[in-house]
Assembly symmetry: C2
Homo-oligomer: 445 residues x 2
């Protein structure tokens, strides 16, 4: 596999670059010309198509091919999306996706000589319905923030296991969506020694980052930590909806199951590993009394540049707030720099036993909680495990999510001297449970 | 969805039926004309193709189509396999697969009027390389034997959770194979307070049944227990290879991860739900002091006919035994009737929160241990959690699997008055670990 220097940057990262799409040049636009994230969209009556976001527009990749604007590796990369999904593009080794990024940056640049032809390949995001970016074969969720691990249980200390490996579990791939609604599930739980089944009382969000795998590894072939980056296609926001009442009841000894398979929502735009290079920072500094990583999880490159500087927020708007036009209220304000384990460590550990990762597989980073109170990244931390209702600006309070509540997650990678780039958003509203009997009847139809 | 009577039988189950393929009529043949399991095979230089096993032959489905021997629903079912996998056939609702089974039974019957033409569609199993029968999108593994749960931990009592729901975890889909080798993984573990990484010391098998999903359910749509059978396509044998040293170290609080993703092997032939109908028996009888299932997990039909009578064995042959031509030695002799939870209960619970199951998804039943010593279905039970070496007939002993050991799993469904049917076998040999440094170099090539 091609060897690259860490933080290898090129003209596509140049903060001085502007786009002829003016909305891409606005301060704090999510999708400036330095971002160029991939997504899958459709318009009413059309098939799924792959595009790249720029400002408030989508550049349609196959429209560029049809216009004769892509050649060589860039064209090959774009043609890998003819089936309307990103998996085949993800499975291509560089230089294909890098060539495509480079060409897209030139085509969209403010003094582009192909401005008119490129403009004909633009579709307003407002006219697009965003779809799941890839067929997700496998979804793995990590627990990689020590602050989350410590707030997660009463009186917890950081376990030796947590210090020694990035804890993870296989999660459910079939229930990952970009949709904007989550129906309250019926679950089994124990309350005061009574085991019962009914609509969950304890719905929670978890603010995470999603990592899409590009090139996969062969079964039985682990990957050293300094090569792990080559297996990352890109990043998205991820809300790992968590159903705490069933989670508490079902998780011993085999871990969470139905607590995590009601729904997982991700943001529809995949920000590529290449776009994220300016935002690499040092890995989290451990307390010196904690375990050092074993050699297979350690490298100088990872220590010095294995982290990412990504500012993240989760915000809530209740039904009452929405009706009164009260804006979203920020519950969580955190940063990916707080993660105890880096993405490269997650990948290397995952493949260390020979487990194969496939193009389009998704990893969840785990809840991105930091040290400050406001950086707790789920309700269970914010409410002190159900003990402390969370006040909202309109006088309401919440322990757990109520029907009609909306959760919105946003994120932005920042670095001095570089254009910051955004992830868009993941937003979904809690819908009331269908009664079991009605659900049975609906299923039987 | 079509409503059917439990244990609905038809002429394809008639024990008097014989096949013109003589090997299918031998006593205790795995694949008599009453079985007709589906599989995917290839011959050198050809694409994957779908066939049905009968005796020592494979009936190639598309060859029957080409010969004009299939019409209507049976033809439609066979044509769903043109891409060389079973997923599209699995996704068809009845009556298609049922019509195909009925027609295949007639074509193969000893007095078939299409004997010659059908004979031209036969391929000897000995010439075929068996493949994974479906693209497995999701793999869920249960723990549904109370005997396994009780032997699993020292001094265990059956937890209230185990009594109340079929415990399960999401497992890894990308590492399910039909292959005949498992490479010893490198894993992280703790030994006497030292955390280290290296070739596993504690490789184990787990004898399970695999359940392939046919028609899936929609996200958010649970399924009542008496309809659960409609979501089963069929059954296979499953060896849930378990790496106990990393499992013990990594599993708190999120359950097993790398312990289960080195490899899972299944037998290549999928025995359909329809073929299994004669072998339905009453569900496991709980101790009256244990919890009764909640209403969503209870039905009279399930209680009276939710179990299956399947005799199962796991056997070992070490390298030394193989060289001395010592035959396989049976380690486990058990029966699926010992399972505390039925397959219908597993399915209904899995979908109870609205989780969607997809055609080709795989469920593992969990280790099928029974009450007798010889019905313990993994080494961890047989060796009393590492305390008691297991004697082998040639004087060797085993606590855990050694390099060169082969594990073979077989199974047979039996019922008075019906032809018993077999599952074929799942067999794999333990190969030595690749040293981490070599593995890194191999991965970097």
């Amino acid at each position: 596999m091609e060897k690259r220097m860490p933080n290898e940057l090129n003209v596509t990262h140049d903060p001085a670059r502007k786009s002829f799409v003016e909305s891409a040049n606005k301060p704090n636009a999510d999708f400036p010309i330095q971002n160029l994230p991939f997504g899958v969209y459709k318009r009413p009556g059309t098939q799924h198509r792959v595009g790249v976001a720029t400002g408030d527009q989508i550049v349609d990749l196959l429209a560029l091919v049809d216009a004769g604007l892509l050649q060589g590796d860039a064209q090959k990369a774009a043609l890998a999306t003819t089936n309307g999904g990103l998996n085949d593009l993800m499975s291509l080794r560089n230089p294909h996706s890098s060539a495509l990024r480079s060409r897209l940056s030139d085509l969209l640049e403010i003094s582009s000589s192909h401005r008119e032809a490129t403009g004909r390949a633009l579709v307003p995001i407002s006219q697009a319905q965003m779809q799941l970016p890839a067929k997700i074969g496998n979804f793995t969720d990590f627990m990689a923030s020590s602050f989350h691990a410590l707030r997660h249980r009463p009186g917890a200390v950081l376990s030796k296991t947590f210090q020694s490996l990035p804890v993870a579990y296989h999660s459910r791939a079939s229930t990952v969506r970009v949709q904007q609604a989550i129906r309250r599930p019926n679950v089994q739980r124990q309350i005061a020694d009574i085991v019962e089944f009914g609509p969950s009382h304890e719905m929670d969000y978890e603010l995470e980052l999603g990592i899409f795998i590009g090139v996969g590894n062969q079964l039985g072939a682990p990957v050293p930590i300094d090569d792990a980056r080559d297996y990352i296609f890109g990043f998205c926001l991820l809300n790992d909806w968590s159903i705490r009442d069933v989670q508490r009841w079902e998780s011993v000894p085999l871990g969470p199951f139905l607590a995590k398979s009601t729904l997982t929502t991700i943001s529809p735009w995949v920000v590529t590993e290449e776009a994220m290079r300016p935002f690499k920072i040092a890995a989290f500094k451990r307390d010196p009394i904690e375990s050092s990583p074993l050699p297979y999880l350690f490298s100088q490159t990872n220590e010095s540049a294995g982290g990412y500087n990504i500012e993240l927020e989760a915000a809530i708007r209740t039904e009452t707030m929405r009706r009164a036009s009260v804006p979203f209220h920020t519950l969580t304000r955190t940063n990916f720099r707080h993660m105890y384990w880096t993405v490269a460590q997650m990948l290397t550990h995952h493949m260390s036993n020979g487990c194969s990762l496939l193009p389009g597989d998704l990893l969840g980073s785990g809840t991105i909680s930091g040290p400050e109170d406001e950086s707790a990244a789920c309700l269970m931390e914010l409410n002190a495990r159900g003990a402390r209702p969370i006040p909202l600006p309109n006088g309401e309070t919440r322990l757990w999510l109520a029907d009609g509540d909306e959760i919105r997650i946003t994120g932005r990678a920042v670095a001095n001297g570089y254009a910051s780039i955004g992830f868009g958003e993941s937003q979904a509203r809690v819908e009331p449970a269908v009664q079991w009997q009605e659900r049975i009847e609906a299923a039987a139809e």
